[in-house]
């Protein structure tokens, strides 16, 4: 996984609530066995509309999405995150992000940030104007710098470390091998049903 430290880019506002993973990555792109070639699928059906924000300059180069409530709801398909990353998205900011989608982001080095609705509204306003859409997302400092100052965000220690190191979650868990083996051993005694 590519480490995430500081990212500067254009932010695009997608304020609609409940943008689901069927919309982020429609089903016609789900019939593959690898992760490649998904940029074309990102928001595919929405992009048929020439007015859609990611079709307009400068947001056609956007790498930060400022979204509405419940972004990424619906199906668990990780294809949605792979497609967004291949399209060039590195950061998603929203008042709330659906659970499975949120987990999928962090496993792939896409920084997903939840902020109070008022903060998101400020960022969304800035992103709507091409002159103020450029932002800097600083993970070590946990802040987003923009034309009107900064917006701080929270992130758990674990997520922050894994993103900063670009470390694979599985490699980290395998360091806990002794704990897993001990759990399995104890469980075998405690619960003979699950051998």
């Amino acid at each position: 996984m590519t480490p995430f430290v500081v990212h500067t880019g254009i932010a695009a506002a997608l304020p609609a609530p409940n943008v689901d993973t069927d919309a982020i990555m429609p089903k016609q792109f789900l019939k593959r066995i690898d992760r490649a070639g998904l940029a074309e699928g990102a928001f595919h059906d929405l992009r048929q509309d020439s007015d859609f924000v990611l079709n307009r300059t400068p947001w056609n180069r956007a790498s930060i999405l400022v979204c509405g409530e419940n972004f990424g709801c619906g199906s668990s398909r990780e294809y949605a995150v792979w497609g967004l990353m291949q399209w060039g998205i590195r950061v998603i900011v929203a008042p709330s992000i659906a659970g499975i989608f949120f987990g999928n982001c962090e496993k792939n080095g896409l920084l997903a940030i939840t902020l109070p609705a008022a903060d998101v509204a400020v960022l969304s306003g800035l992103a709507t104007d091409g002159d103020t859409a450029r932002m800097e997302v600083d993970l070590p400092a946990q802040t987003i710098r923009h034309g009107r100052g900064e917006t701080a965000f929270d992130i758990s220690e674990m997520r922050k470390t894994l993103l900063l190191d670009g470390k694979d979650h599985i490699a980290r868990t395998l360091e806990y091998e002794a704990d897993i083996a001990a759990y399995e051993h104890a469980r075998r005694r405690l619960n003979p049903l699950l051998k």
Binding site: K31, I33, N70, S75, S76, E78, G103, K107, Y183
Partner: protein, 459 residues
Amino acid sequence: MKTLYEKLLDAHTVRRIDAETVLLYVDLHVMNEYTSPQAFAGLHEAGRIVRHPDRHLAIVDHVSPTRAIASLDEVEDAGGRLQIETLAANCARHGLELIDLFDPRQGIEHVVVPDLGLAWPGMTILCGDSHTTTYGAFGALAYGIGTSEIEHILATQTVEHAVLKPMRITLTGTPGPGVSAKDMVMAVIAHIGPNGAAGHAVEWEGPAVAGLGMEGRMTLCNMIVEAGARVAIIAPDIKALAHLNGRAHAPQGADWNALQAQAANLYSDPGAAFDREVALDVSEIAPLVTWGTSPDQAAPIMSTIPEPTSDADRRALAYMDLAAGTPLNTIRIDRAFIGSCTNARIDDLRAAADILRDRRVADGVTAICVPGSKAVRQQAEAEGLDVVFRAAGFEWRGSGCSMCLAMNDDVAARGERLASSTNRNFEGRQGRGARTHLMSPAMVAAAAVTGRLTDVRML
């Protein structure tokens, strides 16, 4: 004092990772052909092995055709066929159990797993599909995951679990005629919104939940995902154990006694703290239908489409080609679909057949029924339900996800309007430009015979 979710979490915590995350042990991992291939690819690239080959079950369901085929060559879609072949190759390589298209146990994963007696009270069951919460009906801690997490489980038999806040939804009262578990969960979603259970582990409780059979309880645990719930769970009772007892993979003898003893402790302690409480009297709800493109955009069938209150509502009405103020029971449909992991179990088919008996599907309506599994299909045929469906003009198909997400060749055309027993009415879900109205299986049957959304109680 602990909630049921917290008890299950404690019992499966391998270690704490940080303030909000634990490493959770996975007792059973279920997978399908469309979210697993990249997980195996990742495992192979990293040179890792499957830690516990006997704790995984693979089922082909999402792309499976619902017309009878004699060999894989007849799966017309090359991408889908490749996914099916890849799953088989991965299972063979690692020695994992596979239920393929031609296996008599095949069906939608969330129908098959409980049917086989693999969902036990007190287990953790994870699967790369959001509706994995279905197994919570048996008192299992079960939820959906992404592909990276599938790879994580294959390699470590654990998953990083962000601890959820416990939420309780209490259902009281006695449902009126025509009101099913589907209506109850749709009413809750309409009440709390598509985000109303986000970040929460939902526990269903109350006399109306206890009054439901296991199939109705599975419908509740399955569909509350559409309110953002990550986990849904019901304390196992005598009904849960009776449903499990004697199934192919249910424990036997001394093991069965041990499971019963374990299940007796699986409840939320009186006085345990819930982060959020919602209560609903089910005697006050009527059969519901959705009018928009989010599952919370639903209303009682005898009402009219509400005035839009947001841009999202206006966009939904435009997509659905509907206007505020229109009586819901005047909306004409082109297709009726009975299927999905929410509502394609035997009770669902019986409820629909009760409506269809001695009636005919309206002219111009294409109606199909896709039983949730081959076993459900067989049971329905043993009861003569297939004859009822066929006589009414329904197509009687093989099992799979089918038109729930239209990844196989069952796809609705642009502009077509569907009455559907599924769980998502998102734009394009059942076909690009297709318009979905969600409802119970009996309500789909009622709409099929009149050709418009219909109050099943009026037939």
